[in-house]
């Protein structure tokens, strides 16, 4: 089956309203054409089926009230905006936590050196240990922070 050049006319007539009424109002030629043209006949049948389905679906639709949809949207928008605003704070908290861990590690190293009776490791090893703590803690804190976002 090939498309028919009169299909746009058929679509317009069916879309205008009832096909029989439309044809009674002066589209008799079109109705006669649709009765003998396979493409237009098929088009009319499918259009009527889909338009009726659309009308019944619209009647059956149990949509929430506009006020409810608006209210839910505002609640959600506020929550998203608040979450977005809090993100830089949580990131700053993450960086601060990593810094504190680094300072604590350095302080522990200094305190250790205050007791000569304890075995004294190489200062380079101490520095490496401090950096190691930062390197381990910082990504962990960032992962937890970003996971919350």
């Amino acid at each position: 089956m090939k498309a028919c050049p009169r299909e746009p006319e058929v679509v317009e007539a069916v879309t205008r309203g009832d096909w029989r009424q439309a044809t009674a109002l002066g589209d008799n030629d079109l109705r006669a054409h649709a009765a003998s043209c396979a493409a237009c006949g098929e088009l009319v049948t499918l259009m009527q089926a889909l338009r009726e389905d659309h009308a019944v679906a619209c009647r059956a639709a149990d949509v929430p009230a506009a006020g409810t949809v608006w209210w839910r949207a505002t609640i959600r928008a506020r929550a998203e905006a608040a979450e977005k605003a809090a993100r830089p704070i949580t990131l700053a908290q993450g960086v601060a936590a990593a810094s504190i861990a680094g300072v604590a590690a350095a302080f522990a190293g200094v305190a250790w050196r205050a007791f000569p009776s304890l075995p004294q490791p190489d200062p380079f090893v101490m520095l490496a240990l401090g950096l190691g703590v930062c390197i381990v803690i910082a990504p962990l804190v960032l992962v937890f922070t970003l996971a919350r976002d």
Binding site: L46, D53, H54, C58, D62
Partner: protein
């Protein structure tokens, strides 16, 4: 109806990110509440019907309806007229429905199950051609569910809603010139499914 456009948002000193901005407790959406209520009352039922038919799932249509209007409200689009605004709304609905079907292709709450079934009583009882008999005999919703999502959208927008090819192209993000052949193919497939038995 007042639309807050990108330029007016910028004049208000609001952020450029996608989400609406809360400023001193004031929420900025694409339109104010009164305008939204009018727009929603004109469009919600057709949008729901569209979502239900192209997803084949009432429950999903309920969820996607809320999401469609949320995304519409927080968008920064500018519209030439009411038709353009409607096309944009249906475009959001289309994208959400197609994404949802890609993620979960199985139908959970079919449209033609339970009360409020709208898959029946659609055929013209005076029609005597073969397709008409098939439409009466078979279930349109089952045939529609066997089509590709884009075919469902095309057929629904063109024949159920009476959208023009330009409007369909805008809604589906296709070229206007491609609508005619795509629609013809979709129509042939639906007709074949109905005549061959979509069950």
């Amino acid at each position: 109806m007042r639309d807050v456009t990108l330029s007016s948002l910028e004049r208000l000193g609001l952020g450029a990110a996608g989400a609406p901005v809360v400023d001193d407790g004031t929420l900025t959406f694409l339109m104010d509440e009164d305008a939204f209520r009018l727009f929603y009352d004109r469009t919600a039922r057709p949008v729901w019907a569209y979502l239900a038919r192209i997803t084949g799932d009432r429950q999903l249509a309920d969820d996607l309806l809320q999401e469609t209007y949320f995304r519409f409200l927080r968008s920064r689009a500018e519209f030439e007229d009411e038709a353009h605004r409607r096309n944009y709304l249906f475009r959001i609905a289309t994208n959400l429905a197609h994404d949802a079907r890609r993620r979960a292709p199985m139908v959970t709450t079919p449209v033609d199950d339970g009360p409020g079934d709208f898959a029946h009583e659609h055929a013209d009882p005076q029609s005597h051609d073969a397709t008409g008999q098939a439409v009466r005999r078979l279930d349109l919703s089952r045939a529609m569910r066997r089509l590709k999502p884009r075919e469902r959208s095309l057929l629904w927008l063109a024949y159920a809603q009476g959208s023009s090819h330009v409007e369909i192209a805008r809604t589906l993000g296709l070229k206007t010139g491609s609508i005619k052949p795509l629609l013809f193919r979709a129509r042939r497939r639906l007709s074949a499914l109905l005549q061959g038995g979509a069950r």
